[in-house]
Symmetry: C2
Subunit: 184 residues, 2 copies
Amino acid sequence: MRDEVTDSLLRAFLEEWAVHGYAALSLERVAARAGAGKAAIYRRWPSKLALAVDAVQKFGMVLTDVADKGALRNDLEAYLLMLRRALRHRLVRKILPDLYAEASRGSELAPVLKDLSVSRRRGGVSLIERAIGRGELPAVIDRELAMDMIPASLYWGMIVTRRRITRVQIQRQVDALVAGLQAI
Amino acid sequence: MRDEVTDSLLRAFLEEWAVHGYAALSLERVAARAGAGKAAIYRRWPSKLALAVDAVQKFGMVLTDVADKGALRNDLEAYLLMLRRALRHRLVRKILPDLYAEASRGSELAPVLKDLSVSRRRGGVSLIERAIGRGELPAVIDRELAMDMIPASLYWGMIVTRRRITRVQIQRQVDALVAGLQAI
DNA sequence: TAGCGTTGGAACGATACCGTTCCGACCTAT
DNA sequence: ATAGGTCGGAACGGTATCGTTCCAACGCTA
């Protein structure tokens, strides 16, 4: 199996996903965009879902852990800057919302999102646990809500309302989060 | 044109949208689900998009303004409870994320979301302006970020992570918002 | 009872896509 | 030079859907 054909197919798959959404994504168009034959797809993956799983994993939409920056606000800022970079990606900002929509309607893609969420949660959890360890947040904090709050506003601003979020606005979001996280 | 046929078609359209997403929504299946003929659809609407516009408007996914409750935290609580009720709706929680996904990829549906956003923004704006008027929030608040923050965490918790959000958790979100909104 | 509007369902001609199979051509290793 | 793996593209038999047109039947009104 030639690697460059595989890579082309994965890339074409993500491009088609970004344009049409997963539900209306056609493997025939994926093959055409990759300059390959459909046989080349079915030689590698048994189904559209298998391709999707592979594409998401290899594409690296997973957010990594944020290294300890010594203070909650610094960790939050690093995390939000990383998230902003990810959400600015031309493909991520179209595919991620579609993944959420698919999961909401109980699609076969729901497990893919679950895998993504597991790694993202790990990032959020360690950030919060470090803050608790430093005494910056109470140990009784509602961790679930905390992990909702951290990415939510930036996602909303960038994806739902499709605005550019400046560094100053990220600073403000950090301010709001530092204040808000004390309260839950 | 019989009203009951029109209503059946609109309802069937929303059901199919919830199941398949807009991109893969088939008018043939809509007609079948409504127990009507395709001609009945094309007699009323020239296109799938026209039907979508009508369906969203008549379905009332628009959030109404929250009446003045005398304090920011009361207004926020009322707003979030209303939002929770809307997002708990079996169809809303599947269609709204799909609308966001469609808009993200520059779909023909983007104007539909724009219309929804206009009315939702109005709700958020008045809530914030009232708080400023009462001196509960500074006049220099970043209004855009504020309106991101208000619905974002609840949306994230209910839609992205698909959890049930309790009244206690809404109270905590209100606490976080009251604290966080002071900071931006 | 008659007339008119509207109906559901099917057919139409068309395109699109699925998953599989095929085959001459290409590429690489021996 | 040869052999084997892989390729792109097309065909296959099939299903699905589009938007339009048609028509017998129904429902309602005069």
